[in-house]
């Protein structure tokens, strides 16, 4: 087997594998999508939510935020708690709550993107019998992140694009892989971890025989 890296970044990699069967490439692709673990928010305790989003919409948005994870620091059943508190302005107007406002119990784990809008909190001014009041919206919640795998839910899938194709032109002997990370793990770690998982699986077959 021969591997040649064509392009390489922190989030994206393109490489050519030569001298392998398509079924091997497909196994590697599927391992990257469904077997490589990462952290994602799995449970949300909502103490207060007077925003326009329903609790479950809020929880779904939170779950989709990629959390930067160094897998070597965690065991499979570790949990990390993230809290989020926000309130709309004192006067009429609005504030947008961003992913960077999540406060993590573990300083090593944070949202991979700072500027993901989570929810918009709106203050509205009302006048009732000559008295002006401002109705403010607020959220207060605790989110619990757990490790999981893509086969259970897409929020635990470490890759976005993960595909291979025949090399363009006459050379039909190689496969060109394109892999893109969602931001939670560095892309080379995903490929290496997937390969390691495949090896473990093969070993367990040998041991089982």
């Amino acid at each position: 087997m021969e591997v040649e890296i064509e392009e390489r970044g922190e989030k994206e990699v393109k490489f050519v594998i030569k001298g392998v069967k398509v079924r091997f490439a497909n196994a590697l692709r599927r391992a990257m999508i469904t077997e490589v673990p990462k952290f994602a928010i799995d449970e949300v305790n909502i103490h207060e939510n007077t925003s326009l989003l329903y609790d479950e919409q809020l929880a779904s948005r939170l779950a989709l935020i990629p959390l930067k994870t160094d897998l070597r620091d965690y065991s499979a059943d570790d949990v990390v708690s993230l809290t989020l508190k926000a309130i709309s302005p004192e006067r009429a107007g609005y504030t947008v709550v961003y992913s960077k406002e999540l406060i993590s119990s573990d300083p090593e784990m944070e949202a991979a993107f700072e500027d993901i809008p989570v929810v918009k909190l709106i203050s509205t001014e009302r006048e009732i019998r000559g008295i002006r009041t401002v109705a403010r919206q607020m959220i207060s919640l605790e989110a619990i992140a757990r490790q999981g795998r893509g086969k259970k839910h897409a929020k635990w899938q470490p890759v976005t694009v993960c595909s291979y194709k025949d090399l363009p032109g006459e050379d039909k002997n190689g496969l060109l892989f394109s892999v893109e990370s969602d931001g939670a793990l560095p892309v080379d770690e995903i490929v290496i971890e997937a390969a390691r998982i495949m090896r473990e699986k093969c070993k367990s077959v040998v041991n089982g025989l």
Binding site: I65, Q157, T160
Partner: protein, 61 residues
């Protein structure tokens, strides 16, 4: 609110929404998307076709 990720490929696209929204007032949306690194058409349509409706719902609290 803009969806957090692209429906099709799963790339996070919502983090550039604020910048995109500001810039298209002056510039060509296609060019802005290129510069923000939104390359695939599945991701591009997420921003291009998004209508911010949350303010319409707000009064009916």
């Amino acid at each position: 609110m803009i969806p957090v990720r692209c429906f099709t490929c799963g790339k996070v696209i919502s983090d550039v929404w604020d910048v995109y929204k500001e810039r298209i007032k002056q510039e060509e949306p296609g060019k802005v998307l290129d510069e923000l690194g939104i390359r695939r058409y599945c991701c591009r349509r997420m921003l291009l076709a998004h209508a911010e409706l949350i303010n319409e719902i707000a009064p009916y609290e």
